[in-house]
């Protein structure tokens, strides 16, 4: 095989895309043969199949990717199993410690807390070396994360330390370091959530409030959400092609959820205006923001962002319609109008799709 034919990135994503293309090409070729549009000679077909088999074998050897449809389905099942296993093992570690810690001396407690984290980290390293698919590495990485969370929080309990948001920063760093070291997306999500907690709580403390009340002012989440969304544009992720979409999605979810809450409960805003004015402002911001997300998703080919934008646009629209009409409209009429809006939205998106197809042509 020509070296240029090889997926030249170290990442499994281009390799998976190549495998998917080959599978689709084979399906289409069969269809074309049935329709008598394109029929290769037996030699050509053998050579083509031989080449593709060689490519698939090579990328399957080098990367943990799915080369068949059934493998892809199995992968999803394994991902779910690894997530459930991680949750169960983390809970086991948590409950095991609490069940016996009262019987241990303080140095022993500290030793077990640190040792547990290091042991799980070692397990993650060993399984990452042995298994390309990283299901076990994800599982043990999550257990290591849970052990580290337990480690820091229990030290706080043992020594009666005042709780602070800094713990979230340390947990976030831990999870993100593991995520980038082994390419584990579940750990990336854990790191993102902790980082969101830290940044939002820190922002809250700037206004003087107690850090744990950060959730009571949704505006605390807006800068951290925007920062997350923009992060992939600032930091090069070529070696981690699956990470940017997760940053963008979590950034968008954070921002739109905060806007949605503020659009309905203006009295919990930082702004000292009339709550109705605050709600109106955030509702407009919600519509403009979700429309911008749909546009950005289409423009930069981020399907997940388009979907999230559309979902939030519909939610913003429905909550507004609910505000206006729920009380005075008969329920059948309300839902009829709601359905009508869904059809109008569908029609609008279809027109946009047709136009963009024409532009491409």
């Amino acid at each position: 095989m020509n070296p240029e034919d090889k997926p030249n990135s170290k990442s499994p994503l281009p390799a998976q895309e190549r495998a998917d293309r080959i599978r689709a090409f084979r399906d289409e070729l069969q269809q074309l043969e049935r329709e008598h549009v394109l029929i290769f000679s037996a030699d050509q077909l053998r050579e083509l199949n031989f080449h593709h088999d060689e490519v698939l074998e090579d990328i399957a050897r080098r990367f943990a990717i799915d080369t068949t449809r059934s493998q892809k389905q199995m992968s999803w099942a394994m991902r779910i199993a690894s997530l459930l296993g991680a949750l169960a093992f983390s809970a086991a570690a948590f409950f095991f410690f609490y069940r016996f810690w009262g019987l241990l001396s303080t140095p022993m407690q500290i030793g077990i807390l640190i040792g547990g984290t290091i042991l799980a980290l070692a397990g993650c390293e060993v399984s990452a070396r042995r298994e390309k698919t990283l299901y076990f590495a994800t599982l043990l990485g999550m257990v290591a994360f849970a052990c580290f969370v337990l480690n820091i929080s229990v030290l706080g309990t043992i020594f009666t330390i005042r709780p602070s948001q800094n713990a979230f920063l340390v947990w976030s760093l831990f999870a993100l370091l593991l995520a980038y070291t082994y390419g584990l997306r579940l750990l990336q999500v854990a790191g993102i959530l902790c980082f969101l907690g830290y940044l939002s709580a820190t922002m809250g403390t700037w206004s003087g409030m107690y850090w744990l009340s950060f959730g009571e002012r949704p505006e605390n989440f807006l800068p951290s959400g925007i920062l997350l969304f923009l992060l992939p544009a600032v930091i090069d992720h070529r070696k981690y092609p699956r990470f940017p979409v997760i940053y963008r999605i979590f950034g968008l979810l954070t921002v739109f959820t905060a806007i949605l809450i503020l659009g309905n409960y203006g009295s919990i805003s930082y702004l000292w205006w009339d709550p109705h004015r605050i709600e109106a402002m955030y509702q407009i911001l919600g519509f403009l923001g979700s429309a911008a997300a749909i546009w950005a998703g289409i423009h930069w080919h981020w399907p997940a962002i388009t979907n999230a934008g559309t979902t939030f646009f519909v939610i913003f629209l429905y909550t507004k319609l609910f505000d206006w009409w729920w009380d005075w409209m008969p329920k059948y009429l309300f839902f009829l109008v709601l359905g009508g809006f869904a059809v109008a939205l569908l029609y609008g998106l279809m027109i946009y799709r047709t136009r963009s197809r024409r532009d491409t042509e």
Binding site: R99, T157, R162, P163, V170, L178, T181, M209, Y210, S213
Partner: protein
């Protein structure tokens, strides 16, 4: 990243633990800011059940003057002093939504042990009983109710905490200058809230804010872990409790059964220095 990542994550685990433990060492270094002997009245034993073998002592406290209708010592001025914004006039249409939604702040409080605030509370309770007796005489209340209240007060005198929050402030060193006796006054961090004093307005048909007062929601380091080396007297108490009154929620009605020595360090965080069973009930 792969090579450095493993090293960095290991360094992070070690560094995070080292920072926490050095913070603990710093808190406990030198002379404690406060060293105080409390009893079961101020420190209740809590255990979470079978799934958690740890034992902790929860600080029990009250705020001086909580029985008064008005703001008392913790009024608007004090709230402003610790950073709450009270600049909106009470009759402003926005006052309600702003003051009711004001978020709590972390600040320092002074806890007084068995001092004037405790005496004030006792006097208030005695006064209430006198008033109740007068009501019984005039036929407004029953003798049975009076007897029950007398018994209640007798129990409270034996069991209720004598720790009262008597002052709040942003600067713990200034509070210590104000209350220099570390064996009677604890300075520690707490969560403080703004509360509104409201009354029903017949004209507008809604509650109207007539004043602002502060309230202490929580002492932040109020749950003190008991290490294995100190838990023996508490284990014996818990076993006895379980034998006499099984279940998790029991109300203390008798004399305190242990004393505990607490120290507060440079970061105003506490640790236990000893627990002693009380041999002769009624001595504390």
């Amino acid at each position: 990243m792969k090579r450095f990542g493993k090293l960095l994550v290991f360094i992070l685990v070690v560094a995070a633990n080292a920072v926490i433990l050095s913070g603990v060492a710093y808190n406990r270094s030198g002379e404690p800011d406060s060293a105080i002997h409390l009893t079961e009245r101020e420190l209740s034993v809590s255990r979470s059940g079978e799934e958690n073998s740890g034992i902790s002592l929860s600080l029990r406290w009250a705020v001086q003057g909580y029985w008064l209708d008005g703001p008392g010592w913790f009024g608007r001025e004090k709230l402003e002093e610790i950073g709450f914004y009270c600049g909106i006039p009470l009759d402003d249409p926005l006052a309600g939504s702003r003051y009711r939604n004001m978020l709590p702040r972390e600040t320092f409080v002074v806890l007084e042990y068995e001092g004037a605030a405790w005496q004030e509370w006792l006097a208030h309770e005695e006064e209430e009983l006198v008033e109740l007796a007068a009501q019984v005489e005039s036929g407004e209340n029953t003798r049975d109710y009076l007897e029950r209240q007398r018994k209640n007060l007798a129990t409270l005198k034996m069991t209720s905490s004598r720790l009262f929050v008597v002052e709040v402030g942003k600067r713990p060193d200034e509070l210590r200058d104000q209350f220099p006796d570390g064996s009677r006054y604890i300075i520690t961090a707490a969560l403080v809230r703004m509360r509104t004093i409201e009354e029903w307005d017949e004209e507008t048909d809604e509650y109207r804010i007539t004043g602002l007062r502060g309230g202490v929601s929580r002492i932040l380091a109020g749950e003190i872990h008991v290490s294995r080396s100190m838990r023996l007297p508490l284990d014996e108490i818990l076993v006895k409790d379980e034998e006499t009154e099984p279940g998790r929620f029991r109300r203390r009605t008798g004399e305190p059964r242990f004393t505990a020595s607490l120290a507060y360090g440079k970061r105003y965080e506490p640790w236990l220095t000893g627990i002693q069973p009380i041999e002769k009930p009624g001595t504390q």
